[in-house]
């Protein structure tokens, strides 16, 4: 059953961050990928008890550090200075990625170039000749959490869908994404097929037509 939010425009990335934040269960351990997903942190109420993991070796990450609070020894995975919350802990990279790969994180939210209806994700490399490949922790994150969500605009600037039958960009992970949050709608994806949970500023029928994914 799809909920259609038709009394409004499609979501801004900040509104989308709030929508994702509402879906994160209390007390979860969460990794927010570089880029748009970082914004989700601003919408997590403190009393929800969500603990943020940053793969460069920390649990209990607080908000971005400003001015005097900036410490060169305390950054997030995007190398942005951050702060430490009470109950934080530090660990080395092998332990940090063991934590991720071992399935200890509840949710990871990743930005994406493309997500396939099968749950494949492409977010590390455009594949364009001359582009320097740089994967960082993307592939580890993609397979690491119990629930991997993608957060992206649904269409490219030129209007091409980024939710696709099969990714054309080099893959980051196979069948690992279970939900895709976009400005126009929220989708379930994976091996058992795709479902449309919500639409924003567009009807289900219009969205299906525009994506060309259903017949």
């Amino acid at each position: 059953m799809t909920t259609q939010h038709l009394d409004r425009e499609p979501l801004t990335m900040d509104e989308l961050a709030a929508v994702i934040a509402r879906d994160i269960p209390a007390g979860s351990f969460v990794n927010l990928g570089i880029g748009h997903p970082t914004k989700i942190a601003d919408h997590l109420p403190e009393d929800l008890g969500v603990v943020l993991h940053t793969e460069n070796g920390m649990l209990g990450m607080g908000p971005r550090a400003e001015d005097d609070a900036m410490d060169a020894d305390l950054t997030n995975a995007g190398k942005v200075p951050v702060t430490e919350l009470p109950g934080a802990s530090y660990f080395h990279h092998a332990d940090s990625f063991a934590m991720m790969r071992g399935g200890h994180l509840d949710v990871c939210v990743l930005g994406a170039y493309q997500v396939a209806v099968t749950g494949d994700i492409a977010n590390w490399h455009t594949g364009r000749p001359g582009d320097i490949p740089a994967v960082g922790g993307a592939m580890d994150l993609a397979i690491g959490a119990r629930n991997v969500y993608a957060m992206m605009t649904l269409f490219t600037k030129s209007g091409a869908p980024k939710l696709v039958p099969a990714c054309t960009y080099p893959l980051t992970g196979v069948g690992c994404v279970s939900r895709v949050y976009t400005d126009f709608g929220v989708f379930d994806v994976g091996p058992s097929g795709m479902g449309l949970r919500e639409t924003y500023g567009v009807t289900e029928a219009d969205l299906r037509a525009r994506l060309g994914l259903w017949t």
Binding site: L59, G87, S89, Y90, F91
Partner: protein, 231 residues
């Protein structure tokens, strides 16, 4: 993995452990053994357990008491036979408990692999020995290795020195032993601690087990300072 919960009693801490579970039990001999949790597990009643631990109990306390209560179907351990392992020895000789012997370092590394999402690893330990039987051998860079698989637990019962309310742990001296590894390898990790401290009281740089690996915390009822052989 919701955040850790601090419970009031060891009975609450071990609630729900099912018959037939695989339970990782911390400790090296008596050092780091979660006595109170094991006593609670005996009261709780779960049986037909597979227990993974370094030893197979000392005297009649802790793991030996669990064995004596007839709750253990199989022991996976590195060093069952000790001067005071008579409870296990008797059960084993009577055919009442199965035994799988695993080299100590492999026991630790296989649990680490389970916690770290590693599907298997090539290890040089035990190559050419009876413990290599039925294991795949692979030559890498001129050296032989055995393929070892992860050991996962449904539950881990461990002890630590201090916990904060979100489950961060620090340990004392060699009582640390298997605790940090077992905490990562079990679906549900239950910890008895000497002390539950306030949030913010542990130095984040000195935390040994981050709270993400801990599910239930309980303050130990008695602090065990008994040295093996002097009990």
């Amino acid at each position: 993995m919701a955040r850790a919960t601090v419970l009031g009693t060891t009975d609450e801490a071990v609630a729900g452990i099912e018959d037939g579970s695989t339970v990782l039990v911390g400790g090296f001999g008596l050092a780091g053994m979660p006595f109170d949790l094991i006593d609670a597990l005996i009261r709780q009643g779960a049986g037909d357990l597979t227990v993974v631990a370094n030893n197979a109990g000392n005297g009649e306390v802790g793991l030996a008491a669990l064995l004596k209560a007839g709750r253990v179907r199989k022991m996976i351990c590195s060093f069952p036979r000790q001067a005071d392992s008579y409870v296990f020895d008797g059960l084993y000789r009577a055919g009442k408990v199965e035994l799988e012997v695993v080299p100590q370092g492999n026991l630790a590394e296989r649990m680490r692999a389970a916690g770290a999402g590693i599907g298997g690893f090539y290890c040089p330990t035990a190559v050419g020995t009876p413990l290599a039987e039925n294991k795949e051998v692979r030559r890498i860079d001129g050296r032989d290795y055995l393929l070892e698989y992860p050991i996962r637990g449904d539950y881990a019962l461990i002890s630590a020195d201090k916990a904060d309310p979100v489950g961060n742990l620090v340990y004392r001296k060699t009582a640390r032993n298997f605790g940090p590894v077992m905490a990562t390898a079990a679906t549900t990790t239950i910890v008895q601690v000497n002390e539950v401290v306030e949030l913010g009281d542990l130095d984040p740089d000195s935390v040994i087990t981050p709270g993400i690996h801990v599910d239930r915390i309980v303050q130990a009822e008695t602090r065990h300072y008994t040295v093996q052989g002097t009990r």
